[in-house]
């Protein structure tokens, strides 16, 4: 009997030890909970994000961390599922995380933003900040804005504004087809594309407006047949991940030759699919930067990232986010999330790709120069290729920060 008690005790202690361990560690490090898909359909995208953040954490640590504390990225798998994300967020908070970041899926971001806001109301003194690096549904910085949410990516309205401004000056565009994933982000791309095209190019005809389920389609051939039948000369799509790669693969198979206006053509598998389709400078992407941007620090960063991992810099905004996080903490001289949030508000920052960005106080949306780029054969000026295709990104238009400022409807409750 006595012996059995001893064993139980030993077992209990060995189970509890790791928890004591993490609680003690929390004092030593700044933990950033990375909540994104690490399994399932979004895993390939989530994995790239995770490595990017780890790279950035290493970079900060090499310079002595934030306020002398080491930065640690805590990976948490949410399977692109809002419900699962909340469980992971709670788990993270319980283990001492005060900062979380997420990007894949606006539905997830919305759920996390709500969760963090409610959590902070109920737990004064234990506040948590949510850094959104890629979820671009405009609602997050408009109707549903929160003091505890900061977004470093340009929201989809800003991107569509930039994209349609570019399309406005391209008279060859006459018939546009919209194909998007059926969730909040895809919906927002399609409605904005329709509205903005109507306002800027009333002569352009929208010949198709398609929504398909998120990360569930295995073969896009039927959708391509429809695009072909519609007689479209251009396609606008917000598709990302395998939904983009499969879409272009099917287009390549069928020999569909149209111009593609995209948000995420640079994602994993995208460049390979474009090369296979032979769409030389016919696929355009809107974003805050590309590998071949003409700015030395960005190119150095790109070289270092590629040397370490087998992918290119897909998230310049992640660099802006982490570096601004450090700068804000230094400015506030504290790692208290409330003070860091205060320091971030209205903060201006030299972004990775060159030029000045600003975190707008009104809605916590970061504004930065936006680039339109096309993918294809490279000239001497374009140093980097993508996914060993030999092709690379070329900047075709740059929109300055001040020209990306869209109004917001955010009415923020401040603590």
């Amino acid at each position: 009997m006595h012996k059995r008690h001893l064993i139980k005790l030993a077992l209990g202690a060995s189970l509890a030890l790791p928890f004591f361990g993490t609680a003690a560690m929390a004092q030593e490090t700044v933990k950033l909970g990375y909540i994104d898909p690490l399994s399932g359909g979004g895993a390939s995208v989530g994995e790239v994000g995770l490595k990017t953040f780890q790279f950035l954490a290493d970079e900060l640590n090499a310079k002595g961390g934030i306020l002398g504390k080491k930065v640690e990225i805590v990976p948490l798998d949410n399977k692109t599922n809002p419900q699962e994300s909340l469980i992971q967020a709670q788990k993270a908070i319980d283990s001492g995380v005060r900062y979380i970041t997420q990007g894949n899926g606006s539905a997830v971001a919305g759920a996390l933003s709500d969760f963090v806001t409610k959590f902070n109301e109920r737990n004064p003194g234990k506040e948590v900040l949510f850094y959104n690096y890629a979820a671009v549904d405009p609602v997050l910085t408009n109707e549903k804005c929160s003091f505890w949410h900061f977004r470093w990516d340009a929201n989809s309205d800003i991107k569509m504004e930039a994209l349609t401004n570019y399309m406005k000056g391209t008279p060859a565009i006459k018939k546009v087809y919209l194909i998007n994933q059926d969730y909040s982000f895809g919906q927002s791309v399609r409605t904005q594309a329709r509205a903005m095209l109507k306002a800027k190019r009333a002569d352009v005809e929208v010949v198709g407006d398609e929504l398909h389920p998120l990360l569930k389609v295995t073969d896009f051939a039927p959708y391509i047949a429809k695009i072909k039948a519609s007689g479209a000369d251009s396609v606008i799509t917000g598709n990302w991940g395998q939904d983009f790669a499969l879409l272009l693969k099917a287009a390549a198979d069928a020999g569909l030759k149209v111009n593609w206006y995209t948000y995420y053509a640079g994602g994993t598998g995208g460049p390979t699919a474009i090369k296979q389709a032979g769409l030389d400078h016919q696929v355009f992407q809107v974003g805050e930067g590309i590998a071949n941007v003409d700015h030395k620090p960005a190119q150095d960063y790109e070289t270092a990232l590629r040397a370490k991992y087998d992918f290119s810099n897909f998230y310049p905004r992640a660099a802006n986010q982490m570096r601004m996080f450090a700068a804000a903490a230094e400015k506030a001289k504290s790692l208290d999330p409330v003070k860091v949030a205060g320091a971030l508000e209205g903060m201006t920052f030299q972004v990775l790709n060159g030029g000045e960005g600003v975190m707008r106080k009104d809605d916590h949306q970061f504004f930065q120069p936006i680039y339109i780029s096309s993918f294809g054969t490279r000239s001497d000026k374009e140093k980097f290729d993508e996914e060993k295709t030999g092709w690379g990104w070329r900047s075709v238009a740059k929109i300055d920060t001040k020209d990306t400022m869209l109004p917001t409807t955010c009415k923020m409750d401040r603590p």
Partner: protein, 315 residues
């Protein structure tokens, strides 16, 4: 319109045949061993990754032979050292075993090859448009896929129905002792059948790998729909699985090409609905719900013809 119909039919048949390639192995295993193998799609994925790896070393054509053999051997081992041990405890442990196996394989694949898609290319020999129909190209590779599926269907059917091997295999399921007394090694027969079934899945994997995306979640994407094929076709019926695959391929493809919605159909009757919570349902187009059509079909079949299209009622 005609263009869309012709092309959708072709696309539907192509997708259906790919489904059949996978479902055939599942059906063979079920009809012969009575085991519903939840890990079947995982062997399909293994086929794709083995195919990718081997084609990097030796080229696509050796991969098409070696990868299924490897996956088949692995399947045979799973039967011999896994399933057979669990078999004596009944059907539920068997199901759970294959269910767990599916997760294990997915994890292993993502550890070995990572979670990002691998660059598995169509072989240069087949990388050209076979023909052009209404200005849409049909890749030679897809036609190749079609031919392989038909050959496998015919081969399986003949082996099972017309040869001595098929006879012994079928007898081994219902009367294992009798077959044993006749001097056949029943255990080995089961092992071989399971191996052949998983090898078939791997063939589908090697072929589908370059056409679709080869990544560690590809099993999860196609797994559920395989069961729809097998149930709709009738559990254990090979011709049933063939018809069901084509049916599902066509239903899904045609649903995508239709833009109609309830609003389009009845719109003028109730314009007020637009603003209510019903408006979502009201405005959903058939194209939007295309991917769930197979599951609707599954429910309908289970309600009205539980044994499936060509299945026989279990006694």
């Amino acid at each position: 319109m005609l263009e869309l119909i012709v092309i959708s039919t072709l696309n539907g048949i192509l997708f259906g045949m790919l489904l059949f390639l996978m479902a055939s192995g599942l059906t063979v295993i079920f009809s012969m061993l009575g085991v519903l193998n939840f890990a079947h799609a995982s062997f399909y994925m293994l086929g794709a990754f083995f195919g990718f790896q081997i084609s990097k070393w030796f080229g696509f054509w050796p991969a098409l032979i070696i990868a299924p053999l490897l996956a088949g051997a692995l399947g045979a081992m799973v039967e011999r050292y896994g399933l057979r041990q669990v078999h004596k405890y009944g059907h539920v442990p068997e199901l759970l075993f294959t269910f767990g196996l599916a997760f294990a394989i997915e994890e292993i694949v993502s550890i070995v090859w990572g979670k990002s898609p691998v660059d598995f290319r169509v072989p240069a020999l087949l990388d050209f448009p076979a023909f052009t129909l209404f200005s849409t190209n049909y890749p030679a590779f897809k036609i190749f896929m079609l031919v392989i599926s038909i050959v496998i269907f015919a081969g399986l059917l003949i082996t099972l129905k017309k040869t001595r091997i098929g006879l012994i295999v079928q007898a081994a399921l219902t009367h294992p002792h009798m077959v044993g007394h006749l001097g056949h090694n029943v255990g080995r027969i089961f092992m071989l059948v399971f191996g052949v079934g998983t090898a078939l899945a791997a063939v589908a994997g090697v072929i589908a790998g370059p056409a679709l995306v080869t990544q560690s979640n590809m099993a999860g994407l196609l797994g559920p729909i395989l069961f729809v094929v097998v149930v709709v076709g009738g559990l254990g019926s090979l011709p049933g699985a063939f018809i069901a695959s084509l049916l599902i391929g066509l239903v899904q493809t045609f649903a995508v090409s239709m833009n109609g919605s309830l609003a389009g159909l009845f719109g003028p009757l109730s314009p007020d609905l637009a603003a209510t919570w019903l408006s979502d349902i009201w405005n959903v187009t058939i194209a939007q719900i295309a991917p769930i059509m197979p599951y609707v079909l599954l429910v309908l079949i289970l309600m009205f013809r539980p044994m499936g299209l060509l299945g026989t009622r279990e006694t």
